[in-house]
Subunit: 414 residues, 4 copies
């Protein structure tokens, strides 16, 4: 962060995607400087994707600042078009976007649910927000309300979380930038210029249809080319399996874990029983980041448990398992056959072999029509319609279909 | 052009899109230095699109050099994958791409057919190629054969002209760059890396499906956002109508024309009677460029013919007609009503009013399945299929539908 | 230009360099739509530089819009730092930057002074401004005052015209973008973020020293690599000599000229006698653009005057003269020897040979310390000093030295 | 990494800076896949610079691949100009550049010498290279010879390590890209196009002078704006002091350390006595990366040693010390005064206070003339000279002066 003029407070941040990002106010700056927030500097935005796209080492921290920047621009544009938004509402929606990802754990989505089972990152974000709201003496209340979609002006929530929110606009642009998958880039500027609010809902002017279409297709590309790239998926599932096995070993023979990780290994059962996350757990979670996983896994390379050491070596040295991908479910015979070979070779039992030979399906939806918040198109006539209807072709509908693929993963040396 | 080392011949060209472009050989350099080729420096690639996108002043010259650059990379990639291509074939296909647009007239597509009626720019390109081949003592013969698709190795022609040729890869990337419509940019690098030749046909490896989809959608965006932008279309048709009216006036009361343009006004009837273009006409056409139209039109602003002066003023001062666009054909009543008003206001007759109030349809196809040369996808299994079938959704089929829109154009002041 | 929402007036323009440019108000939009202003669309920003950098076909129009965009950002930044600027002042300084280049003639600097002798483009810009001010009923008065540096707040003039004005910030960035000379790019964003006003003068905060140094070096690169590239210089002087010769021929044997150009050939003597430019002449000048030169020169290729035809062919076909460049003045003997050879070969007299064999010097200063308006650095202590003193090394002083080079130009075929 | 065609081996890597990087051969691929090499994925290229430039999370791994890519291009260019380079030499110089940074420890330069005292990263790189050479059965011998500058063809070493080597060309371009300090970007393409070999030495063609000047100035900007940014420097020295204190504590009261770090805490004395690094130590060093420092420091936040906990909290939560910077050495009185205050406030002794209040100097040289390997300029005459003499101004000499600044660092709350 860069102090740019002689105040005590840092106000402008250099960002390779947008050039410069202005922090809107001291309150937002204070939030950014909070240790909970700074932890996001230690969480890679794309988990293990840098195993396929080495440039993709950017963090959650970068992303939320970028999303805040786009929010700022969007608010200015909407005001320029005559939309009334109060100072409090602006502050609040900027808070909501800043904090929307604060509940993420290490390596992002791949390990979601591995530490605090049954809670996704959005629920955890809310726990963090509530805790921060206490520290900030209620100043985050409206932001939390908007995040929860409990505030009357629906479009404010839409800007934070919908099919065309500032979150997506930033992450598509940013992930495209850092991976080098340039064709996944989107015209976020143009889309924001075309936003409108109609009856408190967010809409895109009719002439923005092509940009929205491109946004949906770019998202689809990023899904298959990056987020669901077979090597990424395989690495992330291997990582998840390593954690599972390490947990079991921690109960049986003991396993090395960094202090932050050990906490979750040791309290797992207790955590699973409770609906509520106490402050102690929240604080522990706030200690946990990517580095804990890396350090622990480096030790697991030499663990006596074959499965744990094989997966850990494979991941740390990026000597990954083979991955096959197919439109149809893999033949059970084939899987069984592979499992037998691996079982033989590694001298492991039937239970353990499932950690090394596994198959599952992945699916993606670039655009979803079946929930309430589609992308509204505002026609010149004043009429509103969903993009899937407004587009002069059927491809939006086509894109909205869930696509499923199957993958099969096993050690290379068989 | 930049001489970069101590030879007499220029070999490297700076290009803002790709950085540097190497001229492959002295033969190609000699071609580029020919006056016919240099004329392309005076032809804007996108006609009047710079009226909407002021940055889009790039030329045919830039584009063909860019396409040659991509061709060079594509040939190298195909060779790296084991495809045999002889030195002569490489030289020839590079010649073909260099010359594929040499028959373009002023302001590109908008005035196509206005000077030599009944010949499109590809036919004119061939006349130029044949003439150059004489001057170059037959060295272009194989290139011309490939251009005409008369050479046995189909994929060489495909690289010059097909649904996924180097022409399109360059112009989408370049037009996106100069217009600033960044979301129209494509992953030309990635697509080229995934090209393959199977049974002498060009194909894209299966994992390239998403890039090809994005290419088709980007093309669709560029069509509607740029090439068929209503203001661009209106300006170009106004330009065409001005030329038509000027031709008529040249026979009636006389009209100013630059020497190059005057030649075509004076020989029009003769030209239309003949199937063949004689050297004299070819040479005359080689004199004609964007500047002739601009200079002539500046004079027409003061011509006594109302229609001619109104259109010319409107274009030169970019005080353009109003354009309406619709999915359905415009109501004849509405058009007639407008024509009456214009007729009254400008005091012109029923014939002339059609130059000032006009409606037509525009259509675009981002991908076409009904001709022989679809985009082949090479599956891991070795099977080939068309992208429209290979894609896991229907949107390619959707994109292949012809989309039609109607526009209506008339002076602003009524 | 792009209408982006349902008003009659165009408000947002796509620009490949900055993404989007907002037109600040209706007054500025009206100015931009004036025919005088639209003429800048037909003036290439970099004259004949596209002969070396084919991408550099951008126009004065693009540049002034870009400079206005940076001005807008600079004003916002200064206000954010507490500088008071009234609405009228803002409008005025935006007008001043919009119109600062409106007096440019065809092919920019290369032909400056060829048509209205003794008037540079800044003086002509003022004539245009005064004329426009009449049409706009005095609304441009404050802008003109700022342009003339007659307004009390010096920094407003500095933003329009000084060592670090919005003009230079835009043209360096833009010319670097379009030529592909990326290392000539500057951190205009960062520099603008560091601007301050102290005692009504413009200054840069101390921490901006490195960016200012880089700006000066980038400018130096652009000078030698682009603006004073030997091929560019030679082409532009050839162009100037062609115009000179054509003027002489127009008096002797007659010469083709487009109507706009003919006006200046025919009235030359009258124009030179007068200090004032009458409306008639201004209007004539407003008709003249790049296309007049191109069209006329295409005809001159066949003129009976050897010199005129040789130069014109050379330029139109880009078969340029040879250029030598040196640190010292060329040996007179060498020049004389070349002139004799050319005289022999082309059978022309001693007077004419000077058009074909010529030598001159070029010079550039990246930063000038000898006038009043250096670049002020505002130190943390509150002290101000010139960048040449503030920089911790002597290179700024070094850069401020005038560098001179000599070139020698003659036909290739001797 | 991305498999792009149906071979077993990965050959093409996506890179956001260059688009695609081709791995030249299987040998190079095998090297890249070695665990020692993969470790560089876990070493940030710019240490703690991401505390100022959040985007700068790129790794050593990215950088060495980029440098290899530029090497590949440079070799091709030199061959195109007639320079003979054998296949073995090409393979070897590509090996040398791939491995030149393999000896870096955690957080790059900031902690250099903290773990294996008295060995810089180049010496450690050599140890790694020798070890790898055994594993690769001598195939790296020529590469090591070139790296050590013991091979007859000097220019091969120059390409790996000199004032204008592929290392610097990549890191300036890459660091500029990821920090967003765009004005630090360089024309690496243009510089490489202008490389020549004269008498086995690397030189730049005369016309490349401006690009080389810009390269030197860009380097200067990156030094002061990024590498020596006061906040970066302060963070890195704080980090170094934390490690020092932790080492002391590990002997006194014990301190948490990850296994990889603990090894170096426990064997420090032994390591310092030996000149040679045994395999065991090398293997241990190969386990150590950024994550060990982060995890350990997170624990130190709660350590009973005040100094250790204060610094660790400050770093982990990015609540950094205040930094002052000056041209002159700070007044001893001022420092002493600060130390007393801190001593009082934190209740620590005189020895410990030096960890919290410290001053030192930083210096940078953008270009150095006093060693053998300046940047050679090849004049058109065939003469060679150093850039500092060839440049038409004195600024290169100016830039070659060592610039020194002083900084003073202390806790914010006093």
């Amino acid at each position: 962060m860069n102090k740019h003029y002689g105040t005590n407070k840092i106000k402008i941040i250099n960002d390779p995607v947008y050039g410069f990002i202005n922090i809107p106010s001291e309150l937002h700056l204070d939030l950014i400087q909070h240790p909970y927030f700074q932890r996001m500097r230690r969480l890679k935005q794309l988990g293990l994707s840098y195993y396929v796209y080495p440039g993709a080492t950017h963090t959650r921290f970068d992303h939320v600042l970028g999303a805040m920047h786009l929010m700022n621009i969007a608010l200015r544009e909407l005001e320029r078009k005559g939309q009334k938004i109060t100072k409090d509402e602006k502050d609040a929606v900027l808070i909501a976007i800043l904090l929307h990802d604060i509940g993420h754990g290490p390596l992002s989505h791949s390990l979601e649910g591995s530490f605090i089972i049954g809670k996704n990152h959005e629920e955890l974000s809310l726990f963090f927000m509530e805790q921060l709201n206490k520290e900030f003496e209620g100043k985050l209340s409206l932001g939390i309300k908007i995040f929860r979609n409990e505030y009357k002006k629906q479009f404010l929530h839409d800007l934070v979380s919908s099919q065309l929110d500032m979150d997506r606009l930033d992450y598509l642009k940013r992930d495209s930038f850092y991976t080098g998958v340039t064709e996944g880039g989107i015209g976020s500027d143009r889309i924001i210029k075309m936003l409108r609010v109609v009856n408190d809902e967010l809409a895109v002017e009719e002439k923005g249809i092509y940009s929205v279409e491109q946004f949906i297709v770019a998202r689809r590309i990023m899904y298959w080319q990056v987020y669901l790239h077979k090597t990424v998926i395989a690495s992330e599932i291997m990582m998840k399996k390593a954690i599972q096995k390490a947990k079991i070993e921690s109960k049986k023979n003991g396993v090395y874990a960094t202090p932050a990780l050990a906490y979750f290994f040791n309290t797992e059962e207790k955590l699973n029983k409770s609906d509520i996350i106490d402050n102690f757990t929240l604080e522990a979670f706030a200690k946990l980041d990517d580095s804990d996983i890396i350090v622990s896994m480096k030790e697991w390379m030499n663990h006596s448990d074959k499965v744990l050491s094989v997966i850990s070596k494979s991941l740390i040295n990026r000597d990954l398992f083979r991955v096959e991908i197919a439109r149809e479910r893999f033949n059970l015979e084939k899987i069984k056959n592979l499992q037998e070979k691996v079982s033989d070779k590694y001298k492991i039992n039937d239970e353990d072999v499932k950690y090394l030979v596994f198959s599952d399906k992945i699916k993606s939806k670039a655009y979803s029509t079946d929930n309430d918040t589609g992308i509204n198109i505002l026609h010149k006539s004043g009429k509103m319609s969903d993009i899937a209807k407004a587009s002069d072709l059927d491809n939006i509908t086509a894109l909205s279909k869930t696509v499923e693929k199957y993958f099969l993963c096993y050690p290379k040396d068989i």
